[in-house]
Subunit: 534 residues, 2 copies
């Protein structure tokens, strides 16, 4: 059988762009502009402009494998970059605008970005980045209200200059398509490089009914930034199936988002818990006529209470898990048919777990004794293997993050329940070591979050002369609410062994977070390292 018996059709982004340009060309793409107006276009126009962008990039000297950066909010032009940069054979490198300018410059330089697309409204940020990102040969300004200062180019003029005769490169499914950097809660951010194949497979599996269930009947609002693990791959999933896309631009406040959800009848919205906390509070104040059956995909920790609150409001929150290294979808938490009809408490606890892997994803949870039993108690490190999981970092750093048999060590501590649902209990780095035992800070946080007065909470390990470390809870109260340390401790006392309960509760205005919404416990640990235990 030397000759292939089945057609050789590579899994490249062309498969998605061809559909967007043709059969799905009429489907709408809506973007909120910086001036709050709504801009309406279609997949057909986006795909056509993306092809122009690809030709213009090639004509501008961008070679196969070159990195092209984007510093943009979520909008149709960013989708054009999602399509056009890989079609040019280049690597879409989304820069995180929430980082410190020095960090953005480090990442752009480390990746080797040769050209960057920048929103006009983000030029003030870019100006702080530029002096330290000397590898960038060309800046193209998107959404320019006036001609950009030379040598910067205007995006529309750049597209207009594209020549249909410029040939686009032939793509192989193992070619690089995009790159994101880890958010770096520890150490320097590290680059992950996605391929066309990994992206196409991730897209197919993400859209499956038991994953995020994305169809052309859907209207999808990625609140999660397009500079954050490709907005969890949702723009590609929407474009593949022909779901209408709604982009929030820079307006991420609850009122703006709810207006969009109501006005465009959004059926799937995706974002981190912080977003949904705000949406919940706004909806409790003012009900909205949202689409029936609207689902909110939450990544990065979905506390049980939040899921309950949204059910009460008539919205379904679906908990999913992933990381930059996993493209990102690795686990999705939905109640399987054999567990439907169980008591509410059981179901909510299940839904608050990170879930089960979709097809093509293998996960396991291991500790020193091997794979942990499905007792929802024994913990180990979550390890994952899939065609869309990184095999290495771009620079080859920390090869010890991969096991000898090819699994990625997530650095997350997890348990597995009897039904196979994985729950993250902590980051390995955030475990609290007390008297020779481990305490999982995230489990304490989830339990405390259920208290009606608690808005946010972080539990950290603080050095202790006798126990090595003891847990301290940093609590942000909901506006106008009160709760004493004793009340909070009593509230969770029956859920944990006594030695797990925080010895101290401090009240704060906010919890420090990374640009992607993760709690910065390193900062908190530094702040409270000299805590005087009673």
């Amino acid at each position: 059988m030397s000759e292939a018996t089945m057609m050789s059709v590579p899994l490249t982004l062309e498969r998605i762009v061809e559909r967007a340009a043709g059969r799905l060309g009429h489907v709408e793409v809506v973007s909120r502009r910086p001036d709050r107006s709504l801009h309406r276009t279609t997949y057909g126009k986006v795909a056509e402009r993306a092809r122009r962008l690809a030709r213009a990039l090639v004509a501008a000297g961008v070679k196969k494998g070159d990195r092209v950066g984007t510093l943009m909010w979520n909008h149709a032009e960013h989708l054009e970059a999602y399509f056009g940069i890989p079609l040019a054979g280049a690597v879409l490198h989304t820069l995180n605008l929430r980082l410190h300018p020095d960090e953005i410059a480090y990442i752009a330089s480390d990746a080797g970005d040769v050209l960057v697309l920048v929103d006009e409204v983000l030029l003030p940020l870019w100006e702080k980045v530029a002096p330290r990102a000397s590898g960038v040969r060309q800046v193209i300004v998107v959404g320019a209200s006036k001609p950009p200062a030379a040598p910067m180019l205007d995006y529309e003029a750049f597209l207009a200059g594209a020549d249909d005769a410029t040939p686009l490169p032939t793509l192989d499914e193992n070619d690089a398509l995009g790159s994101c950097y880890t958010s770096g809660t520890t150490g320097r951010p590290k680059g992950v490089i996605y391929t066309h194949r990994s992206t196409l497979l991730h897209t197919l599996v993400t859209a499956l009914p038991d994953s995020l269930d994305v169809s052309r009947d859907d209207t999808l609002l990625p609140v999660v930034p397009m500079f954050h693990v490709n907005a969890w791959g949702l723009p590609y999933a929407a474009a593949m199936v022909g779901a209408k896309l709604v982009f929030p631009g820079p307006h991420l406040d609850p009122t703006s988002l709810l207006e969009l959800m109501e006005g465009e009848q959004v059926t799937i919205a995706a974002g981190v818990p912080t977003i949904w906390l705000g949406i919940r509070d706004a909806l409790e104040k003012q009900p909205r006529k949202l689409a029936s059956g609207v689902r909110m995909v939450v990544g990065g920790g979905g506390a049980e209470q939040l899921i309950r609150d949204f059910d009460r409001l008539g919205l379904r929150l679906i908990h999913a898990w992933g990381m930059t290294e996993t493209s990102p979808v690795g686990l999705v938490s939905r109640v399987p048919p054999e567990l439907a009809g169980k008591p509410d408490d059981f179901t909510y606890q299940l839904r608050a777990r990170q879930g089960v892997p979709p097809p093509l994803v293998e996960v396991r949870v291991r500790n020193e004794a091997g794979e942990v039993p499905g007792d929802a108690r024994t913990s180990g490190e979550l390890q994952v293997r899939a065609p869309w999981v990184a095999a290495r970092y771009a620079d080859g750093a920390t090869p010890e993050r991969w096991t000898d048999d090819g699994f990625f060590r997530t650095g997350d501590v997890a348990t597995v329940c009897p039904h196979g649902f994985v729950a993250l209990t902590d980051r390995v780095a955030d475990l609290i070591k007390s008297g020779g035992e481990w305490i999982a800070s995230q489990q304490l946080e989830s339990a405390l979050m259920a208290h009606p007065a608690v808005q946010e909470v972080a539990v950290i390990g603080v050095p202790h002369p006798k126990w090595s470390e003891r847990p301290l809870a940093v609590v942000v109260l909901r506006q106008g609410q009160q709760a004493s340390p004793d009340e909070l401790r009593t509230f969770v006392a029956d859920k944990f062994a006594k030695f797990w309960l925080p010895d101290a509760f401090v009240f704060a205005e906010s919890i420090p977070r990374t640009s992607t919404g993760k709690m910065k416990k390193t900062d908190l640990r530094a702040q409270y390292k000299d805590w005087a235990w009673a």
Copy 2:
């Protein structure tokens, strides 16, 4: 970028079997036995036995790429063969038990089957095949009620003899997984060879919400035989997502099928129109408590009337199209959101079309003038390209079936509507040439099928001294119903140009069909070739 940045996880059947063996191990697989009893097992047990089968095959000398035949009804052991034969590195070759023994023997010899699994109840058929299938070294009898006559082996004993230490071969995603032969309405049957990659991609796309929408909430009944294009790939789709599988065994009468659908609360059933005609009539006589929202997937021509009838009965019929060469899913007909709410007549006509291609499938309809316009009128040949479409036949025959730019010529005449829905109007071979114009026989058949007295109808071209050919309709009336030729002609007169209307109507007891339910128009044309025109 010499080193792969993403994990290299091949798209092999191991990805599906691992899930079936582990995470989905508890999901039920139900089979109707020849004695009508129901046998219950699980994916876990099926996967474990499939691995034993694979090891036993390897131990029996089956080498990578060897063909292993199956001559079986739809049941759990056939699913074990679906898993186990490819895991052994061999090629699953499903033999069509409805063919003439000589034809089965030709196909088994042409494929080079070295070993065959045969249902005990099909041994009388195999005995007629065996003398002409001399390449088969070993016959293994499945479901044996008594020890098979030597040198045949008992399947259970064969599995019991498997040694866990026998190593299974390493699989590449481009290795052959299975083989089916075309049904051969014209010429000798030709072999198509599916690969692991083509099967995995087909499985993923088939399960998507806008395709057949298969989830673990579903209970799937493949009425379509497992020897007919792998039961349209549905056993693999069910196993990948964890849908419960229900197999009808040899009992395909409407009452047996409806009992299964009711008893197991089937949510998706799949089969050819003949099956649904019988189910419709049986349901009209005796209503059943079926699962709510049950979908019936129909391949091979779904007349509008049948879709209407099932809607009235509360069942949703979904029309899909494919062929042996396309794995098979190439088109699915579902109403897109922008056309929801249109008048019934419009919607039913749309649903009766073959539909639109899912992701990764490209289709086009071409005639001498190039691609046809989307006017639902101009016809051309349907051509298709996808990672799960054959690039060649096993023996390299008829290379002219592929275009220079790599599309497969289906041999189907089609039109495209303004919404991009493809409708097959005829086989190229079945077009009727009358006075220099083409008449599409299938369009006449669909229109005549809407008459309440008509059970089945075939329209064929019969030689005519003046017009070259003229259409003749062979009509099977529904039991107890009557209709005259004039009445039938008048019934469709306003839908077609006058010269399209059949000049003759003859009434028959049945229409000759191939083993896969397709009308054998070659037989009818031979029968009526000397028709005396008035």
